[in-house]
């Protein structure tokens, strides 16, 4: 039998004092985890600050010419990243031109068209593709894709050569025997390998967002007589817009920093040009990978400055991606 305590009978029982301050094990836990957080902050923030600190002398010495000079000849005291920045951008843009449609279509296929039984397998396969090391994609691009990419480049040059983007200087597209070497080792070939690398990443983000589409809205569209494509166009794509943009930009951030696949494929050239199909280009990361070994201290500082600029660019791209995903309606559903 239970009895209700009557008010006023136990005068000595006071309400216990409520305090939000952690005591005992909690205080240890709180301070320990704060220490871990602080140490990680010091380590990661330290890397960024160190890069900025090391980059400063170079930026101070060369000023704006560091961004406008195309040549990288530290022995002649001529150092600039205009050409490698343009090369980085062209490789990344070629990569996104291939990766964006494929990632979008694959994400739509997995979330909307694939049979329900296959879906989880397909999701695992895309994750597996994201985990494949970039050097394997580099080998794939180097040995399997490059010959075919060269033929595609020739075809583009022959038929769309009047667009400066597809022009290849020093080669006649209608020659009886085409000069294959002018079309290989280009930003185009490297871009395809990088596309294979970043595509699964963008695809995973897009699929994640598509799968959060409210089923009620999808069913409402279907109930109003929409076809499946009509439902995707009016419900899934608008809902997932944030995910599409965010996933693409995450992929772009990764594509900008990719080293090995690019380094294996392109033949280095320091030239500011539009011709993505033409042999020779260079990216910031390939520049670092190629030049760090014989660099003196001043040259190392210049390389660190280039790396710092690359880091800032990827940082801006990633931050924009995070903002877009966070602002959109699709980002709101992740916090259960």
């Amino acid at each position: 039998m239970t009895t209700l305590p009557l008010p006023g009978t136990d005068d000595d029982v006071r309400p216990r004092r409520i305090s939000r301050r952690a005591t005992g094990a909690d205080a240890v836990f709180e301070h320990a985890s704060r220490a871990v957080g602080a140490s990680v902050l010091v380590v990661t923030g330290g890397v960024g600050l160190f890069l900025a600190w090391q980059a400063y002398p170079t930026l101070d010495r060369y000023g704006w010419s560091f961004f406008t000079e195309t040549q990288w000849q530290p022995e002649a005291d001529v150092v600039g990243i205009a050409a490698v920045l343009a090369g980085t951008a062209s490789v990344a843009l070629v990569a996104m031109a291939f990766a964006f449609p494929l990632a979008l279509l694959t994400a739509l296929y997995i979330s909307e068209y694939a049979p329900a039984r296959l879906r989880s397998t397909l999701v695992s396969l895309v994750d597996l593709m994201a985990a494949i090391p970039s050097i394997v994609y580099g080998l794939w691009g180097f040995s399997l894709v490059m010959p075919h990419a060269a033929e595609l480049a020739l075809w583009l040059h022959r038929n769309l050569g009047w667009i400066p983007l597809f022009d290849v200087r020093g080669s006649d597209p209608d020659a009886a025997v085409w000069d294959a070497s002018r079309y290989t080792a280009s930003a185009f070939c490297a871009g395809i390998a990088v596309a294979a690398m970043v595509m699964p990443m963008s695809c995973a983000v897009m699929r994640q967002v598509f799968s959060q589409t409210p089923p009620g809205e999808k069913e409402a569209a279907l109930a109003l007589g929409s076809t499946r494509w009509g439902m995707i166009r009016t419900v899934v794509l608008p809902f997932g817009r944030g995910g599409i943009i965010g996933g693409t930009m995450l992929g772009l951030g990764r594509a900008l920093g990719e080293t090995i696949a690019v380094f294996l494929i392109v033949s280095p050239a320091f030239e500011l040009k539009w011709n993505v199909l033409e042999i020779g280009t260079s990216t910031v990361s390939a520049l670092i990978a190629g030049r760090f070994g014989e660099a003196s201290d001043a040259q190392l500082s210049a390389l660190l400055a280039a790396g710092f600029v690359l880091f800032l660019i990827t940082l801006v791209v990633n931050t924009l991606a995070a903002v877009v995903v966070g602002r959109s309606r699709s980002g709101a559903g992740t916090d259960a």
Partner: protein
Amino acid sequence: MTATLPPEAPTDQATTPAVPAVPAVPAPLTHLPTYDEDAAPAVPRASLGRLSPDEKFSRLGPWAAALGLSWLLTQQLLPLAGPAWFVVVWFGLGLALTATTAAMSGGSTEVRDRLAEALVTGGAVVVAGVLVTTVYDVVSQGWRPLTHLNFFLDDMAGVGPKDSFDRGGVAHAVVGSLIELGIALVITLPLGIGTAVFMTEVGGRFATLVRTVVEAMTALPSIVAGLFVYTVLIRALGYPRSGLAAALAIAVMMLPIIARAADVVLRVVPSGLREASLALGASRWRTVWCVVLPTARPGLATAVILGVARGIGETSPVLLTSGAAAFLVADPSEGAMNSLPLYIFSLVRSGEPTAITRAYGAAAVLLGLVLLLFVVARLLARPRGTRPSLRTRLVTRLRQAPSISQENR
């Protein structure tokens, strides 16, 4: 619904004679539509359920027709020989024939629907092709060294680039990769997960700062992480290139990735669980240790293992920091050490055909290692606890078997 006329309506009518006269008696403005239950639907719609044999045929038929037509066009009639043109023309013709078939039975809506379905499926097939050709390329070019047992057991000490495959192997690279990754993991695992716990469970203004910086540092390109360690440890402090330096470079690269992924996983732990535990009188530490972390365990395992897969395959930080030894090195602090990606990279750059084949063999090993990690991640990530173990289920089933069979029949 009846509309009441505004009193000034007649004056409006007088000033604007173009407006038709408003009837004095308000007519019913709305009416219920009448349905003819037996009439065919105005626009026939494809069903959303399982496809009927007719529909299946009208979806697959165009592709079969396009296959034959494409073979005829590219291989027999037009000068477009080669498998690439064949596939491209097949896809284009397939789309055209799909559109034609859809237009025969429906309107433009159906055509667009059918075309979108074909395009989306085609995109997925291209991606599957990328995966298959990647694996095929590596295995088909690198299977020869894999057939020799010494490839897995030996190192490259005293083996030249032209030596045949019954000498030398990747053992030193595998061991180096595992040691470097192990050290990196020992550093990043407690720090990464601890930071995630701090960001989600303790919170506060400082945690927001940490989260901002960690998220920013996930943008750090791996080569810049390598360059950082190279500059600090090897150039400024004068240590030799070693496995330890490579492990530190990998750790610098992996730490923000793992911390951020773990943060995302911990954030989706339902707060109801946390509050229930706190309401039962558990301390915050017990709540984190006994409720939050076990709930998030599958997600955490996936986050960590995907970070590991990224770390094991990343070449650029290792390229700058570890140096390449041709022999087995077990001590990470003692001089140069090889690892799988670096081994592949240096062999491919050598340009010797035998060495390149060896590199493909090593790439196959690396691919197998990543696949293994991935399968382990999937097994760990399977939700456990929601379902009782097999033994418990069998025991309960056996005990309840008579009663269930009586109830059901």
